[in-house]
Structure formats: C-alpha cells, structure tokens
C-alpha cells in the first residue's frame, strides 16, 4: 500500500485567508464567531463570516477572471491557488485528482427561476469550474455527505492515491452561509443564540460559519505528515439524531485504528467534531469513552470558526497539522464549565505538547460518521 503524505494546506475563514493567519488566531484564542446581522428574518445571530472586502482585496489579483466566479467558487479557487503555490505539484497533470467537499455549494442560485433552470447550482458544475481553472481534465470527485463531507473527502482522496489510481490529490472543502442553511438549522432548533460552547455543560446549540480549506496530498512527494488510517460508518439508527451508543463513530474510529495499525493509547490528541449541540457532543464523548480515550486531550475548533459544514473537516485537519508541527494544542474555545456527562479530557487552555498521532472525527445527518488518523514522522 502506498503511503499518502500531506504536502500543503490553506484555510480561508473569518480568521484569515491563509493557514498561518488562521493558526495565529487560534493560538491567540481569538474567535471569528461574531454577532452578525443576517437580514430581516433572524436579525442577529452569532456567525463566523469571511470578511469579503478583505478577501477580494487580497485574492483578486491572484485569480484570473475573478469576477466570473461566485463567492463560493472564489474561495475554493483561492484556497487551492494558495496551497499549490507552496509545493511543486502539477495541478493540471492527469495524475492529479480534485476532490471537492461541500453540502450546499451555490445554493443561493436557487433563489431565482433562472437559477433553477441553469446548471450553475449543481455541485459537479462548481467542481468542474475549479478543475477548468487549473486545466485539470480529470472529472472531479464531489463528496456531499452532510457534516462528515470534509473528513470523508480526505479519506476518499487517500484511498484513490493508495491504490495508485492517482499520484496527487487536491482536496478542497467549502460552504458559505445562506438563508437556506440558517433557516434549516433554525427549524431543527439547533442554533444557539450565543456563540457556541462545544462540550460545555451549558452548551445549547451550534453557530454557523463559512470557510474554504485545501489539502494537497501526494504519494510521490514526501513530507513529515502522513495519513495512516481513515474510515466512514453509519449509525443505522436515525436520519437526524445521533446514535445514543455512538455506534457509527465507534466503528469508524475502530476501522481507522485497524488500518493505521495503532491502538487507542497511541493517539496523542483528538480533534473532535464538537458542534455544541447537546446530542452530538454527548455522542462523541461516548464514542471516545468506548475506545478508552477519556484521558486523551480533545478539542473542538467550532468555537473559533463555527460549523462550516463541508469545509469543517478540512480546516480542522489543517489546524491539527499545525498543532503537530508547532507542538501546541489549542484551547477548546467556549468550554468553561465542567463537563458532567461522559468524562473526556477537554483542552481548557493551550498546551505545549509533542503530538505525533492525531485522531480527527466527524458526524452528521444521515447517520454519517467519519474519522481519520494522521501521523508526524
């Protein structure tokens, strides 16, 4: 089996348009989740929004025909342009595959009748625009599996590289905040009126955010960070509520560890999904407990970026890589009180620590669960 290395990365979010800007903000424990006006219907909500003016100012000159792309496409292209600029990988090669993670893509195009009649809204269409930008002729793989899309996209790319189907992969995850998504989560009573508090006893829902992230993977070019295991599993329990026994996530972690040939005690740190809904965080705690990971440091980055849906898995993997490289685990923002549920070791302030093996988890609607294991050499 060929080893898959992570070559390069990028994050575009409320906290900046490079991985470095974003990680610096995480180190400072400063959040991008702010009270934002969202229009007539919901007035004010805590959201993590990209500063559009600043983004355009910094990225416009680096992207050809910038104006011809939607904001969703612009952040995806910028994320890949920036990540690819740091490595010597030919994005146009037929040995390079693009894997795109998104839940709702250009959903705002559906607001108008014309938008509904055009292909612009379709996920494969946005993916094709990104491939065309980089002159890549392979058909992009679009992963759309609710909140696990990001982690699953990286798992998919790794799988394609391991088997030798391709040598390099550009994995991009993105979603933008829209009335559509706000109304949907509102109808589930899943949004907190205040910035979210993952794993805290007083958590009362998630905060939405928008972001794009990119990971460049390769089996040919080596680096210090490799993907050593990954898996996806279903709860087979309910289409919206997490399993009470955390069955799917437990199985996904188990299968990932098996592939990585490690045991739970080898894991130095867990980057959890941690959406700050009552049920998700409880379910994740149960999964970690079932694997004996009570003492392993765990955090959620949702307090910094909110839940960025299709981007979340990717940008949280990037942050985990930066934690490994900088030997610094980031405080789980929003976690103030004790967690009186299942016992887990939530990181309450930044910790300097040698981190060699990271477990990243995600769970979402449809009973979907994904996990991935990274190793630093």
């Amino acid at each position: 089996m060929r080893k898959v290395y992570i070559q390069s990365d990028n994050i575009v979010s409320s906290l900046g348009i490079t991985s470095e800007e974003n990680f610096n903000a995480l180190v400072d424990n400063s959040t991008g989740v702010k009270m934002n006006y969202t229009g007539n219907i919901y007035k004010e909500l805590p959201l993590s929004l990209i500063d559009k003016e600043a983004f355009i100012k910094k990225s416009e000159s680096s992207i050809r025909n910038f104006q011809s792309y939607t904001f969703f496409e612009q952040i995806m292209i910028w994320s890949a342009v920036d990540a690819l600029s740091k490595v010597n990988i030919d994005a146009s090669s037929d040995r390079t595959i693009f894997v795109i993670s998104t839940t709702k893509g250009n959903i705002d195009n559906l607001k108008t009748k014309e938008g509904r009649q055009s292909d612009n809204y379709k996920l494969w269409y946005s993916a094709k625009r990104v491939c065309d930008y980089f002159s890549n002729n392979n058909e992009a793989v679009v992963v759309s599996n609710a909140c696990v899309s990001g982690v699953m996209a990286v798992n998919t790319a790794a799988q394609l590289l391991q088997t030798g189907a391709f040598d390099h992969a550009v994995v991009i995850g993105a979603d933008v905040v829209s009335d559509f998504v706000i109304a949907g989560f509102m109808s589930f009573m899943a949004l907190s009126p205040k910035p979210c508090k993952p794993f805290d006893d007083n958590r009362d829902g998630l905060s939405l955010g928008e972001a794009a992230g990119c990971l460049v993977l390769s089996t040919e070019e080596h680096s210090d960070i490799a993907i050593i295991g990954g898996a996806n599993a279903n709860d087979a329990n309910h289409i919206s509520g997490p399993s009470r026994t955390a069955e799917g996530l437990y199985l996904a972690i188990e299968s990932s560890m098996k592939e990585a040939r490690i045991t739970a005690s080898d894991i130095d740190y867990v980057s959890a999904h941690g959406t700050a809904t009552m049920y998700n965080d409880e379910m994740e705690s149960i999964a970690l407990n079932r694997h004996g990971l009570q003492q392993t440091p765990v955090n959620s980055f949702k307090g910094y970026w909110g839940h960025t849906l299709g981007a979340s898995g990717i940008i949280e993997i990037v942050a985990s890589i930066k934690s490994m490289e900088n030997k610094l685990l980031i405080k789980s923002l929003g976690f103030d009180e004790k967690n009186n549920g299942e016992q887990i070791n939530v990181i309450s302030k930044n910790i300097t620590k040698e981190v060699n093996i990271v477990l990243k988890t995600a769970a979402g609607f449809g009973g979907a669960n994904s996990s991935i294991i990274l190793k630093k050499y």
Partner: protein, 84 residues
Amino acid sequence: MEELKNKLKAQIIEALNLEDVEVEDISNSDALFGDGLGLDSIDALELIVLLEREYGIKMDDAAEGKTILQSVNSMAEYIQLKKA
C-alpha cells in the same frame, strides 16, 4: 373543543405524511410518540412548526414540547390556553 381536536388530527396526518392513517384512528388520549403513532424527533419539530403556522403559537423551548405534544388532548388544551 371536539371540533378543534378533529381539525388538529387532520392537520397532523397531513403535516407528517401519515399515509393509511385516518382521523378516526387517532384517539384524543393516545400517545403521539413512542408506541402510539410511532412519531420521532423530526415529527416533534414538525408539530412545533404546525402550531406556529396554523395557530400562530410560537414555542421556543423544545423541552416544553414534551408535555404539550404528548397527545391530541394536550395539544388542544395548549392551543385553547394560548388563544384564550
């Protein structure tokens, strides 16, 4: 009150796509969730939307829903209370 309850039953059947269930099949005191009609958490949220859309009653606290959405009786009582 009986009229309200029957109207409510018809609305529940429509809103929750309860195919093959008739108004007469639902008794006023039957538990809507669990063993009763076999409704789940999404149905509960959908009933909260129904109360808002059809009766203008806004329920912000999902926990409150547990007792209110127990049966057609408890829903009708809640509607009367709010409308009084």
